[in-house]
Symmetry: C2
Subunit: 219 residues, 2 copies
Amino acid sequence: MKTVVCFSGGMDSTVLLYHLIAGGHSVKAISVDYGQRHRKELESAKSISQSLKIDHRILDLAGVGTLLKGSALTDRSVTVPRAEYDEQSLKVTVVPNRNMIFLSIAASWALSSGWDSIAIASHGGDRALYPDCRSEFLDAMRKALNLSDWNNLELLSPFTGLSKAEICKLGSELGVPFEKTWSCYEGGPAHCGSCGTCRERRSAFKECGLLDPAPYHKM
Amino acid sequence: MKTVVCFSGGMDSTVLLYHLIAGGHSVKAISVDYGQRHRKELESAKSISQSLKIDHRILDLAGVGTLLKGSALTDRSVTVPRAEYDEQSLKVTVVPNRNMIFLSIAASWALSSGWDSIAIASHGGDRALYPDCRSEFLDAMRKALNLSDWNNLELLSPFTGLSKAEICKLGSELGVPFEKTWSCYEGGPAHCGSCGTCRERRSAFKECGLLDPAPYHKM
């Protein structure tokens, strides 16, 4: 199969990339720059793609960022939640409809290249917080993508049934260079260790008994 | 209702805008610049929005255009079909997955603004050529958009059951300034009159017995 992968440079989509390559897929990767507060994830995506020698594009969607208000990922006037780690404080990091935008553009690239599938790393652990990570959403998108073109484009989402810890374990078996992946919402020289996504990452590694090789600030 | 309208500056989406305003909707309009061969449609969209005094944004998605190959709308090495007006020659003008990209970004803007709906002017006459104008596609998107966020976003597509001639008639009743709308794939000073979309436009006006006030080249 020839598969365009939605690739953020974080650990989940990096494992997805390695998983598909191990499964015999030809892959191309696409990242989206929608005016994030920092470019650490995009730099990770670029570096990982280069080491895998795969075609990787970063699409500039900063214009979309300017349409969005009230998201900590694009709006510097909103503080990244840190002290209170609960669902309410994490919700500020949601870019509305982000996955649909990402999938629709990956699909356009796949279709115009004559490729047969796209893939996204949404997983079980994202469900509670992000509506567009739910399998119901992905099933609806699967149908829409299938109807959007005369060529039936497939949407692969092999991690929907997995927890982040299970993805971490799979990545470890596949030899994923986790030290190159970036998760932290803050753009410091190392992972802050205390924002929502750092906490999720740390507990995933802890749960499967692995050491996270990524650099962290001393806490 | 508060509705973000996918607005190309062509006759169908201009009639949609007037139709929603007449129906009491608050509207904002969004256009997409994906590196089209010419900007006449975008200029029309801007001018019509200004005269209606509505919020209108043109989103620069030229980066998406660079991903696409083989489309006459973005690739200057492909000739716009003219002499042979049949389905095969028109297919070259299809940008894959264009409507999904457009809808997904309109939805992001609506959701981040706290608005409750988006609208698109897809209609019956587009069905045969464009897979992403079919009502089946729009129904799948309706479901995906509903699941993409905790707030249920509605997708309005009131023209799916209408022909282009019926849209033309409706626009005439609503006082749409058709002379400001742009349809031609070519970017000349006037409509060429012979490309696929010019022919569709001319037969729509002819079918409902109206004169098209838009300028045409002498043929």
